[in-house]
């Protein structure tokens, strides 16, 4: 009996600090933001209960929808940019030679670099006057291509997608490489004897065999795209004229620039709901496709 009591008190004392910190800083905030979303509150003074008004206002605000659309542009850019590049590289980088390992490390390296530094570097690359992209275009005689890459609302979402793609190819390369290595070399040999040429080999054998992995990668692109806040924040801050606003920068600007804590909380809750819908929805869709 003394034995079980000692066990019980050890478990309780051992788990208590971790669970307290975790619940207080991860789980409780979500509930709080749903709650504060029902109030009109400036951060100081009394909060006024206004029901669903904040949520309704967000859903009526065209900027909110533009932010959502921009988030989806980042998702699309991740899926259409990162995955094909990572897949192509994984097909040719399968050896463990020094050279192949070097290329793999190079591709993965931006993952460990602060996203603020990445944003600032690309800010300099895109800078309309001193940016090295425009300087390069001029030097190679393509002056007509020179743009205000981050200032022109018709292209700036694509400009900010480039560093997102550039920085995040590494993990997908590793995921695809380990999936391709699970395809037995017998299958590969058999395909070769059958005379399958390279392109067909890719479409008929590799892609179907790692389809489950590609599905996981697509879900990762969706959840990963919600993390683009830092990059966009330093490159454009959501501007000009809110043309590169993401849901997270929209939330930030409303809360900490114009001090609408209640509204910001409502938007935070909407971000959680939208990301859950996107991630769960994509998983359900993928499962259906896989069963066909």
């Amino acid at each position: 009996m003394a034995f079980t009591n000692r066990l019980r008190s050890f478990i309780i004392i051992g788990l208590l600090p971790a669970l307290t910190i975790y619940l207080l800083f991860v789980i409780v905030p979500i509930l709080w933001s749903a709650y504060y979303g029902f109030f009109d509150w400036k951060g100081i003074g009394a909060a006024r209960f206004i029901g669903l008004d904040n949520y309704a206002e967000a859903l009526k605000d065209p900027i909110f929808w533009r932010a959502l659309k921009n988030n989806l542009i980042i998702v699309a850019a991740s899926i259409l940019g990162q995955l094909p590049i990572a897949l192509l590289l994984s097909l040719i980088l399968r050896k463990s030679t020094l050279f192949h390992r070097f290329v793999r490390s190079a591709v993965f390296m931006p993952m460990v670099v602060s996203s603020i530094v990445i944003g600032l570097i690309w800010g300099y690359i895109y800078h309309p006057q001193i940016g090295i992209l425009n300087v390069l275009l001029e030097q190679i005689g393509l002056s007509s291509w020179i743009r205000d890459w981050l200032g022109d609302p018709s292209i700036n979402m694509y400009s900010v997608s480039a560093p997102v793609i550039w920085a995040n190819i590494g993990p997908y390369l590793i995921i695809f490489l380990s999936a391709i290595q699970n395809i037995s070399s017998d299958v590969e040999e058999a395909a070769k004897i059958d005379g399958a040429i390279k392109g067909k080999w890719l479409y008929l054998i590799v892609i179907p065999m790692i389809w489950d992995t590609i599905k996981v990668a697509i879900v990762l692109c969706i959840s990963g795209s919600l993390k683009a806040f830092d990059l966009i924040f330093v490159m454009t801050g959501g501007g000009p004229a809110q043309s590169t606003e993401l849901l997270a920068t929209y939330m930030y600007n409303n809360t900490f620039e114009i001090y609408r804590y209640g509204y910001g909380s409502a938007v935070s809750t909407l971000i959680i709901i939208i990301s859950m819908i996107l991630v769960l929805g994509s998983q359900v869709l993928m499962r259906k496709r896989g069963m066909e």
Partner: protein, 293 residues
């Protein structure tokens, strides 16, 4: 998700397809890969090269090597630019968060992986839930929470949420490692008269060192590079971490580009060194973390 052997970094397989390729095609492939690697590395190379240039050279010849390597850019950024102070803040916050994450993570992992109790499944489910939450959606409520706790603008306002958000990964990585170790060790220790705390400190902690190393590397990179929490919770100049200082740098020293480039390099160099030392663990860990989350 089962198709991915968790965290396996690709090893050699005898590459049969390369035998088919003739010599010339293989050279073209190498050339393409080399070009791709250089394009990928170029933004970082450009950063390091530019950090040694004078401001005139930064504008005049953006692609050239510096004619004179201006090492004093670094000392100027460190002292005048206040990067030294920010570096110290980043070290303090990252190290304290790591110590707390490792202690709480290992203790929790020990309890959930080696002991039986009723709410174990529920607690594990809570930790999974935390990995699904987009971090930015917690900024507003955390700000309000810390304001009411009176810890805004202190190191604690970063250390506590960093630890909280890193705990799920720490618990999963360490627990997965501990379940692979036979339980006889603890039983023997128990007979020797050790209590549970004794077993934790004398048996479990030394056993878990490899898993704790992985958690430390990944945690350090996350803490060192975090921007969102620092942006919202820290306002005092004296407490700013590196990413936060850098984001403000372009306002204060907007035209002193060589200073800004040196400051950015100072922030990046520690992470690159860690990457070069622990590449395989970082690749494995980040992929496993992403797939689970």
């Amino acid at each position: 998700m089962k198709t991915i052997a968790p965290g396996r970094v690709p090893k050699t397989t005898t590459n049969t397809s390369s035998r088919v390729l003739n010599f010339r095609a293989s050279w073209l492939l190498h050339l393409f890969l080399l070009a791709y690697a250089l394009v990928t590395l170029y933004p970082l190379l450009w950063l390091f090269i530019s950090s040694f240039k004078s401001n005139q050279e930064f504008f005049g010849s953006p692609f050239a090597l510096p004619s004179v390597w201006q090492f004093e850019n670094y000392t100027r950024a460190w002292e005048i630019g206040g990067i030294g102070k920010a570096f110290l803040n980043s070290v303090i916050v990252s190290v304290l968060s790591l110590v707390l994450t490792l202690f709480l993570g290992t203790l929790t992992a020990f309890i959930v992986s080696r002991l039986n109790f009723r709410f174990k499944g529920f607690i594990m489910m809570l930790f999974v839930l935390g990995m699904l939450i987009p971090i930015h959606s917690t900024l507003v409520p955390l700000f309000i929470l810390m304001k009411s706790l009176g810890i805004l603008d202190t190191y604690a306002s970063l250390i506590l949420p960093y630890t909280a958000f890193e705990l799920p990964i720490a618990v999963f990585v360490i627990a997965a490692y501990l379940t692979s170790v036979p339980k006889e060790l603890e039983e023997a220790a128990m007979i020797d008269g050790n209590g549970y705390w004794g077993i934790f400190y004398r048996i479990i902690v030394p056993l878990a060192v490899p898993a704790m190393a992985t958690v430390s590397i990944l945690g350090f990179l996350r803490f060192w590079n975090d921007f969102a929490f620092a942006l919202v919770f820290i306002n005092k100049q004296a407490l700013k971490t590196l990413p936060l200082s850098l984001s403000m740098f372009s306002d204060g020293y907007g035209t002193d580009y060589s200073l800004t480039m040196a400051a950015m390099s100072i922030a990046v160099i520690p992470t690159i060194i860690i990457y070069l030392l622990f590449q395989n663990q970082i690749m494995k860990g980040m992929v496993a973390g992403a797939v689970k989350g």
